[in-house]
Amino acid sequence: MSRYAGAHISIKDVSHRYRSTMEPAIADLSLEIEPSEAVALIGRSGCGKSTLLHIIAGLLKPTSGHVVCDGREVNGPSASRVMMFQQPSLFPWLDVSQNIALGLRFNRRMNEASRRVGELLELVEMSSFRQRNVQDLSGGQQQRVALARSLALEPDVLLLDEPFSSLDAFTRASLQRDVRRIARDRGITLVLVTHDVNEAALMADRAMIMRSEPGRIVSALQLNDVTANSNPDDHFKVAREALIEAYENAVGLSMGHASHSGESPTRQPDKALAS
């Protein structure tokens, strides 16, 4: 694993209750994520996948258990573990480049801003929008700016909380590919929360299938292994079929038509898990 630069994440016996009287959102969950690996947490809403992501980010403190990132216990948010949310939530009083530089500003690295912002704009293909008001951008463009904002701090870990779910199919597909490529090129460890089988099949090396009440991992699928012997053009399709089968076995639920239609993610944007 020496070629990887990303961080190793170790989740040990993590449980979380939002209220002491409530059923735990996550119960005794353990998971090891290798440096530069792309892991998808997949499951229905309420299975605790987003809670787990917030705990890894340090935005939420687990009721018990702990998360260790590259040997250090996670106690709060860190510039090396950055999360992308469902909504880009750009600051409308700042222009595109100021939004991208936010993390640099918070971490007293503004001296890098002029250089980094230019690079990042190029990376997310938004160079011509540098001084634009973010309210003029489309949803996909805003999410690209949010991606650049996340990458500005050169994180070891990128946590994705369904950041593409509100985009149209074409925009979503291109962002999914771009994020996967950027993470792979830079060796960033990717943890992706999704209820979209296509997204998991397209972006993840490994998928963890989760169930609710209490939130836990019920099955794991190494997508690399599944696609290893198939034609590269069919990787997505093979991974997707395997994932649906694993999901059905794990959750005991038939996905019906979802498992037999289409081939490309752009042609079947809404194959979310039955909910």
Partner: protein, 286 residues
């Protein structure tokens, strides 16, 4: 009236001209300017007509004819005189100083307290009843206490202005804070923002338009409270000048100062309105 007529077309032209982005320049033909300014000019003309009519009625009645100088003719002539002689400036500067200081104190107190009660539910619940109670007390009813508590009349008046102005600023700030998108806090924390960063990069910029709107409302209240506050004690300012003109039976001067008060108030409000547009990140056309 000449000044009024000059400012109004500028108002409507300025406001409309700033709002939509990328409006073609050719849009502002002389005809279009006249069309957009016409209602404002008609309104001014209507107000002037009412004033003129009132003056004519007062002049026609022998019982009231000694007040005929309130009419537009003598007033505008006297207005010109007090502007040229510098009397208008001499009267306005102390008043503007008092309003400015009062608003400054109201902002210095109102914004932080507004942020606190907007962010913190316990603070809000604690302060709600006392604040609503205090808010309903006429600022002028603090006058006797202000006179005892402050060494100078100036300070007492500034206190009264501040007491009147603090509430709109405080409540507007608190309402702005409550409207901040919670996701912005999460994004900032996630990128490593500390509490001071949250204040300076999330809270203050997002509520800047609300603070300025509060100051604009406060200015209206402060300007109204100022004149009666200046009726007592002080020997300068617009309120004093009105009282002084009444005592010397110079009704044209009295009316000219009323006109001056209106014009200054209008211009201050106009300036703040522009400031709000400048600092507002909220899309007008959205």
């Amino acid at each position: 009236m000449a000044q009024d007529a000059d400012t109004v077309p500028e108002t409507s032209g300025g406001v409309v001209g700033n709002a939509p982005l990328g409006e073609p320049a050719g849009h502002w033909t002389p005809k279009a300017i006249i069309r957009s300014a016409a209602p404002s000019l008609a309104g001014i003309a209507g107000l002037y007509a009412v004033w003129w009519l009132g003056g004519a009625i007062v002049a026609a009645n022998p019982d009231t004819s000694s007040f005929a100088d309130f009419a537009p003719g003598p007033t505008i002539a006297r207005f010109y005189d007090i502007v040229v002689s510098g009397e208008a400036t001499r009267d306005a500067i102390p008043s503007l100083y008092r309003v400015g200081m009062g608003l400054l104190w109201a902002t210095v107190i109102g914004v932080p307290v507004g942020i606190l009660i907007g962010r913190n539910k316990l603070a809000n619940d604690t302060a709600n009843i006392p604040f609503q109670f205090l808010r309903m007390i006429s600022p002028l009813s603090w006058m006797p206490i202000a006179v005892i508590a402050f060494a100078t009349w100036d300070d007492a008046i500034i206190f009264l202005v501040a007491v009147a102005a603090v509430w709109p600023i405080l409540f507007s700030t608190a309402a702005g804070v409550r409207r901040i998108d919670p996701a912005w806090f999460k994004v900032a924390r996630n990128l490593g923002a500390r509490p001071l960063h949250i204040l300076t990069t999330v809270i203050l910029p997002s509520i800047a338009p609300d603070i300025l709107t509060g100051i604009r409302l406060a200015l209206g209240v402060a300007w109204i409270v100022l004149v009666p506050a200046e009726y007592l004690g002080v020997t300068s300012g617009l309120g004093y000048a009105i009282n002084d003109a009444r005592d010397t039976l110079e009704y044209d001067r009295l009316a000219a100062i009323v006109l001056l008060i209106g014009i200054i108030g209008f211009l201050l409000d106009f300036a703040l309105q522009h400031l709000i547009q400048r600092f507002s990140w909220v899309r007008q056309d959205a």
